[in-house]
């Protein structure tokens, strides 16, 4: 999988309440969820994501609630991948299950807001085209890659049924 885009950069401990506030949890339609993505963190997010479809963050991205809307809203807002120094465990599972690529990269600090990067999951690397630096990433276990390639857990299960 090859994803190339500009980056939106955030900090540490970005929690699911600011990604998708509790006041919208009654929403079950994914397109509607997307309208509230990052609403309490960054009011310009929906504008930014038109140009930059990769989020890069610090440690513990997606901590807090188990609400998968936090992953779903980002995917439907146009995010193609999230790179973080580390992920909170439930968010990581939710992202994979929604078919949203979540990549752990200890060197996420070497990517800045607005950088153009290319993620190459086959080679296990991130190329920072703006800085001319290549960062190594650990490949996902194969069955998780399969879920991503299927477009999420639902599609993956339909294929195997």
């Amino acid at each position: 999988m090859l994803i190339r885009s500009k980056v939106i950069k955030y900090g540490d401990d970005i929690n699911t309440d600011v990604i998708f506030p509790g006041r919208y949890l009654e929403i079950v339609d994914a397109e509607e969820m997307a309208k509230h993505a990052m609403e309490d963190l960054d009011e310009n997010f929906l504008e930014k994501v038109k140009q930059a479809r990769i989020i890069v963050a610090g440690k513990n991205f997606g901590c807090g609630s188990s609400r998968e809307q936090a992953a779903t809203c980002l995917k439907y807002a146009g995010v193609e991948a999230i790179i973080a120094k580390s992920f909170a465990r439930i968010f990581f599972r939710n992202a994979i299950n929604q078919g949203l690529l979540a990549i752990e990269c200890k060197d996420a600090d070497k990517i800045d807001d607005g950088d153009e990067i290319e993620i190459d999951t086959e080679k296990g690397e991130i190329r920072n085209l703006s800085k001319g630096v290549t960062l190594k990433i650990k490949p996902l276990p194969s069955f998780l890659s399969e879920i991503i390639k299927s477009g999420g857990l639902i599609e993956y299960m339909k294929r195997r049924a």
Binding site: G64, L153, M157
Partner: protein
């Protein structure tokens, strides 16, 4: 072996060691209002319901329905439950899912429980391996009865010393979260030992529940201390003050001495973390015969209808009303800004709940401080964050 390894070995049928990925059979699969989303995903998969008797659905997040959208979700859930003969369904008159799970006997030692709520870690108080998952993953559990899990490494956390007067289980776990950090136990199981082993079930639930706030995958009591632990921690609480988690992260923990005097607009007593009868009793003891400060709101929401009834019988509800409090039905509403008790911009709340993230209880310009029920009650009296020890 650690408790996590023992339970996941039994549920997967293979010898499960930390780091292994296993496919395990779940004993209970809990959802709340978000069962509406689980149902949507489950119907997209199009497979039959594999485990109707293991599914538990408890309506608690927006009860009674606050909007038409919520009402439609609840209706969809009720229809699904009826159609599939799901017997473990608890409508809006039971209470908060984690308390109801325990009261109704759905959680127990050695069980593997998954729930579409992060505070599913609560059942570790009884010795269950219980953890939160998303709605899509729950849909797959409904269809297969199984889940893949990475067997977590375990932290052994031992609490020593005599707990001082006015300091409670909530203060202990806030202190631990403050020390280890918001991701200090991410992906890990935590086994608890020491003085907390002899505390009431209510206290153990508070600790297991809040372990989520340092990222724990599971939090377990009742171990034999014989496992291969990744790390061991010891906390002496004999000098501990009441603890306060300050905005806007749960690991921003300070002693009450450093925060007291901060003016509040709202005090919130309740939630899955601290809405049990023991919590209401200590708050009532502090509030008996007193009035809350002028101009503040004091909200009380017991964790379940059983607790509500018991609090009525013990006269606690009367004490709260006399003091100027507003009693709400059991549910999650105020804790996550879902409905009831929403904060306006620049307002400040002290709450016995579990999260203080920006916007958690309403406006993103509001502030939430987390504390024990005793600290919440003392603060309600003074209209500012107060030390409960002078009232005990």
């Amino acid at each position: 072996m650690t408790l996590a390894e023992k339970i996941l070995s039994e549920k997967s049928g293979v010898k499960a060691e930390a780091g292994d990925i296993v496919e395990a059979n779940v004993d209970k699969a809990m959802s709340h209002d978000n069962a509406a989303l689980v149902i949507k995903k489950f119907e997209e998969i199009g497979m039959p319901l594999k485990i109707p008797d293991k599914i538990v659905i408890i309506l608690d997040h927006r009860v009674p329905a606050n909007t038409i959208k919520t009402a439609e979700n609840h209706k969809k859930i009720r229809e699904f439950v009826k159609k599939h003969g799901i017997k473990n369904f608890y409508d809006i008159n039971y209470g908060i899912c984690h308390q109801v799970m325990i009261e109704e006997g759905h959680a127990g030692k050695g069980m593997l429980i998954v729930g579409t709520d992060s505070h599913t870690t609560s059942y570790g108080a009884l010795g269950a391996f219980s953890t939160g998952i998303g709605a899509t993953e729950m849909a797959a559990v409904w269809a297969t009865g199984k889940i893949w899990l990475k067997v977590p490494e375990t932290f052994k956390i031992t609490i020593t010393g005599n707990l001082p007067k006015g300091v409670f289980a909530k203060d202990i776990i806030l202190h631990i979260i403050g020390e280890l950090g918001a991701d200090g136990a991410n992906y890990k199981a935590c086994e608890y030992y020491g003085i907390v082993e002899n505390m009431a079930l209510a206290d153990k639930i508070t600790i297991a529940n809040m372990s989520m706030e340092m990222g724990a995958k599971a939090a377990l009591f009742g171990g034999d201390s014989e496992g291969a632990y990744e790390k061991e921690f010891e906390f002496d609480v004999s000098e501990l003050s009441p603890q306060i988690a300050c905005p806007h992260t749960v690991d921003n923990v300070k002693s009450v001495e450093d925060v007291e005097g901060k003016e509040i607009n709202q005090a919130v007593l309740g939630s899955c973390t601290n809405g049990r009868i023991e919590d209401l009793r200590i708050a009532a003891q502090i509030l008996k015969g007193k009035k809350i400060a002028n101009g503040i709101r004091f909200l009380i929401f017991p964790a379940s209808m059983k607790i509500y009834k018991q609090a009525l019988e013990e006269g606690l509800i009367d004490i709260f009303i006399q003091a100027g409090g507003v009693i709400m039905n059991p549910g999650c509403g105020p804790c996550l800004g879902a409905h009831e008790g929403i904060l306006a911009s620049n307002e400040v709340a002290i709450a016995s709940t579990n999260r203080n993230f920006k916007g958690r209880m309403g406006s993103k310009e509001a502030e939430v401080y987390l504390a024990s029920p005793a600290t919440v009650a003392a603060s309600a009296i003074e209209g500012k964050i107060a030390d409960p020890r002078k009232y005990l």
